[in-house]
Amino acid sequence: MIDGAGPGVDASPPGAVSIAAAGVPPPDPAQDLAIESLRQILVGPERSVVTDLTARVDTIESRLGDDTALMDAIAPLMQAAIGRQIREAREEMVEALYPIIGALIGRAVAEAMRDLARQVDARMRGGLNPRLAWWRLRARLGGAPGDATVLRAMLPFEVEDVLLIHRATGLLLHHVTRRPRGSGGIDGDADVVSGMLTAIRDFAATTLPGQAGDELEEIQHGQQRILLEGGRLAYLAVIVDGIEPPELRPAMRDRLAQIERRFRATLEDYEGDATVLAPAGPLLGEMLVIGQPRPLGRAQKLLLAGIGAAGLAVVVGAVLVAGWLWRAWRAPAATAPPTAAPPVVMATSVPTPRSTPMAGATPAPSEGVMAGNAWIRRAPSTAEAAFGVAVRGTRVWVLGAEGDWLRVRAVLPDGSAVEGWMADGPWIQRAAAAEARDSATPTPKTGG
């Protein structure tokens, strides 16, 4: 309607315009210029706006094609928007984020409950195990919390292998193991194992019901388990034996995050050359010692040796003191002479010294009563160990004699009858009949 309708031209009905268009004369440059001027006047600003918008759309499209640039561009905006929404509409934000946060909280609670169960179980099993004391001592020396160390000691655990695997391809990026190379396990097959683990993860993610983003976290076979921790570009598979300590999972997340930050470009366009990931080895290797007691330092070893030596000295001293006390308790108060010294006679009339501890020939045993205390020995010599004491009042029978020694039978206070040798002396008070019979050869004695 606008074309061909200059100022002052009456508006024509639609039918008239179409008839005029059918017989359009050849273009007139002067008229075209005028029309263009008119266009510029009427839609010029809009044209410049469209040109500007087109340029902007092109920029946006190029940004949309580059994921990294897009993330860089929108990250600050999202951060600011989320922050403002949380300040201004907290309830709505909580409701919107609940499906994500709820799942995270649920997982954290489940993990905490498992830890609690482990600790309770460990305490139950710990009891008065002597190893507890040793572990507590080691914990104190090592500066670690005693309870935690003891709990850890109760739970057998070892990290066997740590595999860093490229998430997209399933290719092995790096592998560290506790075992020496060539000693079995997955050594030599780690790349194939990585592929199968990736396939199993993919299978679980595709076929098992769950929320978006749920991933397989663990595979268990007997005592061994494979703990999986996924990142954006890679994931970790840690083969463990036993129950893992609570610090293992955070350590896995931490190491994985560090590696993804440090090797981001490599991991995004991974070309299959794993040597470029070799510097990640020490980070992964740190996980092999998680849950293991720290080795003692030199000072700690010396302190431990000192404590051991002191303990040994105390034990030896205690044994010596106990021995002395025992001997003192068992020893007679004194071989005191009889209070009323009776006449003492030899038990036999024919003492026959011999080189062997044989009792002298005695026609008949003479009976007597101990007027004091005296040792009974196995042989007629003070070098021989005493095995009993005939205390005052004990009935004795003199069976024979040798030199200054008498072979006697005595009934001890505990009722047992013993035979042995006793030094002759005033501590034996013989019966009157025997005294009369043996009085022919009285021999006063001293000592005992």
Partner: protein
């Protein structure tokens, strides 16, 4: 002497049920896992190392071979198994020409996840066909359309299986 460059490459083995994919893999590839994985989760992973000489050094290409089940029941999970593939071997059975018809669909699946992945076609069970010329002519035309070399193989006799993997490995090793 320079140390060989070791490159890991994920390679997928695709083809209809019973065309001989697993037999090809089993014949020349290092196996650790049981074949039952294919019927349970739809894939089994094995390894084939090929040494590729280059002008300045040798490239050791460790092909991590993902042998994918051909049955339809694993169709849903197949896309995730194909992710990150650097190349693919498409296998059909010369004695069953209808298995050739599905190759473009497999090629399309791999192109969807890895557009630049080189392909190779194995015309398997050549030992079972007395006169494979007709089917091979058709297969050659399809191979040309897919931009993939075709190698007649026999997993049973071992014919050309090594050549098949070598062809793919050389293309995956790059220019070196």
């Amino acid at each position: 002497m320079t140390t060989p460059l070791v490159l890991g490459r994920k390679v997928c083995l695709l083809g209809d049920f019973a065309v001989g994919k697993t037999s090809l893999a089993r014949r020349f590839v290092y196996d650790r896992f049981d074949d039952t994985y294919i019927s349970t989760i739809g894939v089994k992973v094995s390894r084939k190392v090929v040494m590729v000489p280059r002008a300045d050094r040798v490239v050791e290409v460790a092909l991590i071979v993902w042998d994918l089940a051909g049955s339809e029941e694993f169709g849903a999970v197949r896309a995730s198994y194909l992710r990150g593939a650097a190349g693919a071997l498409l296998v059909f059975d010369l004695s069953r020409p209808e298995t050739l018809e599905r190759l473009p669909a497999y090629a399309a699946q791999i192109r969807q996840t890895s557009p630049a992945a080189p392909l190779a076609i194995a015309a398997n069970k050549v030992d079972l066909v007395a006169d494979p010329a007709t089917v091979l002519a058709e297969a050659n035309a399809m191979a040309a359309r897919l931009g993939a070399p075709i190698v007649p193989t026999s997993a049973k006799r071992g014919d050309a299986v090594e050549d098949l993997f070598r062809n793919l490995a050389e293309r995956l090793a790059g220019e070196g």
